[in-house]
């Protein structure tokens, strides 16, 4: 069965500190991995997708198939990064059916 694990419920850092939100997955095929973000009182929105290999708002994530991980990183956290972050997996060609992790709340303190 496919599963996404985000081991930290809450990650608290100071402004300017590096951030790494962990995500591990379990899937025997070729996964498609995403990070979604939910700012306070806003809707879930796509932050990153592994296929694009992009950097959004300073965040990057690399798919490591050997370690089955897709950790989200940012070298210098900003207060406006405070939000819930969800890692999600989609099986190849499975359309919009996403399997989400539990979510990690990132709190960036001034």
């Amino acid at each position: 069965a496919q599963r996404v694990t985000q081991p930290e419920k809450l990650l608290s850092v100071f402004k300017g500190a590096p951030v790494e939100l962990k995500c591990n997955y379990s899937y025997s095929g070729s996964p498609e991995l995403f990070w979604y973000v939910q700012y306070s009182r806003q809707r879930l929105q796509l932050l990153l997708r592994h296929i694009s290999r992009e950097s959004i708002k300073g965040f990057t994530a690399d798919l490591n198939k050997g370690e089955t991980s897709f950790h989200l990183k940012k070298p210098f956290a900003q207060e406006e990064d405070s939000a819930m972050y969800y890692c999600a997996l989609r099986r190849h060609n499975q359309g919009g059916k996403l399997i989400f992790g539990q979510g990690t709340e990132l709190s960036v303190k001034p």
Partner: protein, 117 residues
């Protein structure tokens, strides 16, 4: 950017009653989804809908649940005989036509908080 709209933002109902949660997907989207999130738990897939029929559903989506697109713009989730455990935030989502491919981006609504008393 266009948005997926959900109404109401909060719905309270008595156990055993029927509720209808409404969504207006982005106008040129053809794939529609419902997800839910019980407080403190994961966002879970419920159902996907394309070409006026369900394309996939999860175990949660039992025979009390139904979806329809009654008029070409709205996409509704109906729950009959509601149970206490149906209490959750329900998210509607839609995506662009002709994809279902690796670059597909889901657009989520802001959710309806359903409270079953």
């Amino acid at each position: 950017e266009p948005e997926v709209t959900q109404t109401p933002s909060h719905q309270v109902t008595q156990m055993g009653q029927e509720v209808i949660l409404r969504c207006v997907p982005i106008s040129n989207h053809l794939y529609f989804y419902w997800y839910r999130q019980i407080l403190g738990q994961k966002v879970e897939f419920l159902v996907s809908f394309y070409n006026n029929e369900i394309s996939e559903k999860s175990e949660i989506f039992d025979d009390r649940f139904s979806v329809e697109r009654p008029d070409g713009s709205n996409f509704t989730l109906k729950i009959r005989s509601t149970k206490l455990e149906d209490s959750a935030m329900y998210f509607c989502a839609s995506t662009s036509p002709g994809q279902g491919a690796v670059n597909e981006k889901l657009f989520f609504g802001s959710g309806t908080q359903l409270s079953v008393l």
